[in-house]
């Protein structure tokens, strides 16, 4: 979706302000927001892509005014409500008023948490078809504006680039956010800044995105 998360090329946000000796967390609630997000995610009720979609579905005025952990927390509340693990009353009142719902995976144990951090959950899958593109292929990112989750940023849509890396087949986020499984080929596609931004772009700048095969079409060279 063309939500507030799609920030590439937006203007007006001011300078980047690095914080000297920045701590890992700025408040103890941030620690818990992170841990709860990971532990609740480990129940298997939603994919990482559903999680991202919940964040980017926040009203843009909220998204742009929230710290990042606040975005996570608001999205976590939304997911717990949508998956019926908690109801509105429980979220607002902080009191249990309904029995627990069954979950796909059991509660994360301390040992399980250590394993989850150490192993991760790889996203590479067995391909179901040969790759359409190879290193060096000229491709164009499609013009799409899906209402659902997508990982094709607006600034790259309609633009021509070159495949630089082929990462194998990966989970396709647009499908995964709908709860569907559809492994597709993943590529690194590089664009010149001139192609992305037009006149006045930095002539020595190249920007790449990670592009899933359904985002791409073979490039018909410009006449």
């Amino acid at each position: 979706m063309n939500g507030a998360q799609d920030l590439g090329g937006a203007m007006g946000f001011g300078p980047v302000r690095p914080e000297k000796d920045e701590p890992v967390f700025h408040a103890s609630w941030e620690e818990r927001a992170l841990a709860l997000t990971l532990a609740a995610g480990a129940l298997g009720e939603w994919s990482i892509d559903e999680g991202r979609y919940a964040r980017e579905s926040l009203h843009p005025a909220l998204y742009l005014n929230a710290s990042y952990y606040e975005i996570w927390l608001r999205a976590l509340e939304r997911l717990l409500r949508e998956k019926a693990l908690l109801d509105e009353k429980e979220l607002d009142g902080g009191q249990v008023t309904s029995p627990p719902a069954p979950t796909r995976l059991p509660r994360l144990t301390p040992e399980g948490a250590r394993r989850l951090m150490a192993m991760g959950t790889p996203y590479r899958r067995q391909p179901s078809a040969p790759a359409r593109f190879a290193v060096g292929s000229r491709v164009r990112a499609k013009v799409i504006n899906p209402r659902g989750h997508t990982r094709l940023p607006r600034y790259a849509r309609g633009k021509e680039g070159v495949v630089e890396r082929v990462h194998g087949a990966h989970v396709f986020p647009d499908a995964s956010a709908r709860g569907e499984s559809q492994p597709v080929w993943l590529y690194t596609v590089a664009f010149s800044a001139r192609e992305l931004w037009g006149e006045g772009a930095d002539p020595a700048l190249t920007v790449s995105i990670e592009a899933f095969e359904p985002y791409l079409e073979r490039c018909e060279p410009k006449s």
């Binding site: 998360q5 799609d6 920030l7 590439g8 090329g9 937006a10 946000f13 300078p15 980047v16 302000r17 690095p18 920045e22 967390f25 700025h26 408040a27 609630w29 620690e31 818990r32 841990a35 709860l36 532990a39 609740a40 964040r55 980017e56 005014n65 929230a66 710290s67 990042y68 976590l76 509340e77 717990l80 908690l86 979220l91 902080g94 249990v96 627990p100 509660r107 994360l108 144990t109 301390p110 948490a113 989850l116 951090m117 991760g120 959950t121 590479r124 094709l152 940023p153 600034y155 990462h167 990966h170 690194t188 992305l196 930095d202 020595a204 700048l205 190249t206 920007v207 790449s208 899933f212």
Partner: protein, 211 residues
């Protein structure tokens, strides 16, 4: 009160009265009571990122690559496998790609759509990395962003920005600083800042690191 105040990340009141600290406390209570979450598991997660996993991991990978040409080759070929040789990997770094700075090419990592970041090598991302100024500008005016970090690259240095729009996670292998020829691997690692591995900084000169 300035009329064009820029919203701050912390100590701010949400427009709708949302209080994250109170919400998260209540949420944890309910999730634990309903049996969805084990407090001890939460503590493990917090401990992991507060203490065990951070930029010191990535710095070790970089230092090794600087002194071991074979490792460097393996690292650039398959970042995930090479990092695993040093014991690093896992969540948020399942598919690691390391990109190498050269005197003519500078790499920069961003995630314009959210906050993708190589957790096992750098830990959790800093606030600026996740915030709109960096995410919006890194792909259109990276040289200006670098100036915000005090880095002035020659106009002739090409810049390559990697927008992390999938589960692949990028790390920059910075240039080894001059005058670091005789340093130990540990001392070399101490020159490698988080910013150097994102691309918003350069590795420290040995003299600076010693101060």
């Amino acid at each position: 009160m300035a009329s064009c105040a820029c919203p701050t990340e912390h100590g701010r009141t949400a427009i709708d009265g949302y209080d994250p600290a109170a919400r998260v406390k209540a949420l944890e209570q309910v999730l634990v009571e309903k049996g969805y979450v084990d407090r001890a598991a939460l503590d493990v997660i917090v401990e992991t990122y507060a203490r065990e996993v951070g930029p010191m991991n990535g710095a070790k990978v970089v230092a090794r690559a600087w002194i071991d040409a074979d490792f460097r080759t393996r690292l650039l070929e398959d970042g995930t496998a090479a990092a695993a040789e040093l014991g690093f990997g896992g969540r948020g770094g399942e598919h690691l790609v390391i990109v190498e700075n050269t005197p003519k090419l500078h790499n920069l990592i961003v995630c314009t759509l959210c906050s993708c970041y190589p957790w096992p090598l750098l830990g959790l991302p800093p606030v600026w990395y996740k915030s709109p100024p960096y995410r919006s500008r890194a792909v259109i005016e990276p040289r200006a962003v670098l100036r915000d970090f005090g880095v002035n690259l020659p106009e002739t240095t090409a810049i390559r920005v990697w927008d992390s729009t999938a589960e692949t996670r990028y790390l920059v292998l910075p240039l080894r600083p001059e005058g670091s020829e005789d340093l130990s691997e540990d001392r070399l690692a101490s020159l490698v800042t988080r910013e150097a591995m994102i691309g918003t900084g350069l590795a420290l000169a040995p003299a600076v690191a010693a101060i």
